[in-house]
C-alpha cells in the first residue's frame, strides 16, 4: 500500500519525514511493547503504536522500520522529531485509535506481520 494511501485512510498528519510519495509498505504491526517489536523478523513495516517517546524512534531504527503511526492523537515530541531527522524515520499522527487505524488499513489490504 502506498504511504500516501495510508495517510489518507487514517487521516494522518505528517509530523516528520521525507519522500512520502515514493514509499510503499506491505505489512503492519500494532504494539506498545518495544521489546516485542524488537523480536520481529520482518523489516520495512508500518508500526502502529500508542507509545510516543524516544524509545520508539530508537526501536524503529534498530528494527529497520521506516514509518510509525502514532494513534489517538499522540504527538511526536521535539526530542522524537530531532532523533527521527537523524535516523530518517517518518512519524505520522492519527486521531484514530490503534484498533480503528489497524482495522481500516487491514480492510484496505495492508497485510499483518503475523
Amino acid at each position: 500500500m502506498r504511504l500516501t494511501e495510508i495517510i489518507r485512510l487514517t487521516r494522518a498528519h505528517l509530523a516528520i519525514g521525507s519522500e512520502i510519495e515514493v514509499r510503499d509498505i506491505q505489512k503492519a504491526f500494532s504494539s506498545d511493547l518495544m521489546s516485542d517489536v524488537l523480536t520481529l523478523d520482518t523489516e520495512h513495516i508500518l508500526l502502529i503504536t500508542g507509545l510516543a517517546n524516544v524509545q520508539l524512534v530508537r526501536t524503529a531504527e534498530m528494527a529497520d522500520i521506516e514509518v510509525v503511526l502514532l494513534a489517538r492523537n499522540k504527538k511526536a515530541s521535539p526530542e522524537m522529531i530531532e532523533l527521527a531527522k537523524e535516523t530518517g524515520l517518518v512519524i505520522l499522527e492519527t486521531p484514530y485509535s490503534i484498533f480503528r487505524a489497524s482495522g481500516i488499513l487491514y480492510e484496505n489490504g495492508l497485510n499483518p506481520v503475523y
Partner: protein, 136 residues
C-alpha cells in the same frame, strides 16, 4: 576496530547511542542488513537493561575479521538467578521502565535468540557482564 560507550543509570534518552553508533559502522562495512539487525537489536536490549536495572556501565564492541564481540559490563546490583532472568516473561522492571515500552521480560531471551554465543556472568552486589558474539 574497537568501539567503547558509557551507559548511564536511568538515562533512557541515551539508551540507543551504542546500538546506533555500532549500526553506522556496520553499514559502512557493508555487513548484510539482516545481520546488522540481529546485532543492534541485541546491543539495544543490553543497553536498555543497563539503564533500567543497573547503576550504569560500559559497552565495548570489537569488530575483527568476520566477527563482532560485544562486552557489556555494569557495576551492579547483579543478577542473583541468571537462569530465571533468562526466562521469557520474568522481569523486575519498574513501572517507569514498562511505560518506556520495555519490562516484559523479553530482553535477555531476545539477546540469546539474536546472538551466536552468549555468556552472562554476574556477582550479586557487584555487577553483571554480558559477552556475546555474532559472525558477520
Amino acid at each position: 576496530m574497537k568501539l567503547v560507550f558509557e551507559i548511564a543509570r536511568g538515562d533512557f534518552t541515551a539508551a540507543g547511542k551504542a546500538s546506533s553508533g555500532i549500526k553506522k559502522v556496520l553499514k559502512q562495512l557493508l555487513v548484510d542488513p539482516k545481520t546488522i539487525k540481529r546485532i543492534v537489536v541485541a546491543v539495544y536490549e543490553a543497553e536498555v537493561n543497563v539503564v533500567a536495572h543497573s547503576v550504569g556501565g560500559t559497552l565495548t564492541a570489537n569488530i575483527s575479521g568476520n566477527e563482532i564481540t560485544v562486552v557489556v559490563q555494569d557495576y551492579g546490583p547483579g543478577i542473583s538467578d541468571i537462569e530465571q532472568a533468562m526466562k521469557v516473561g520474568f522481569s523486575t522492571a519498574s513501572r517507569k521502565v514498562r511505560e518506556m515500552g520495555f519490562g516484559a521480560g523479553m530482553g535477555l531471551p531476545n539477546i540469546k535468540k539474536n546472538t551466536d554465543e552468549l555468556t552472562i556472568q554476574s556477582q550479586p552486589g557487584k555487577g553483571t557482564m554480558l559477552v556475546f558474539s555474532i559472525s558477520i
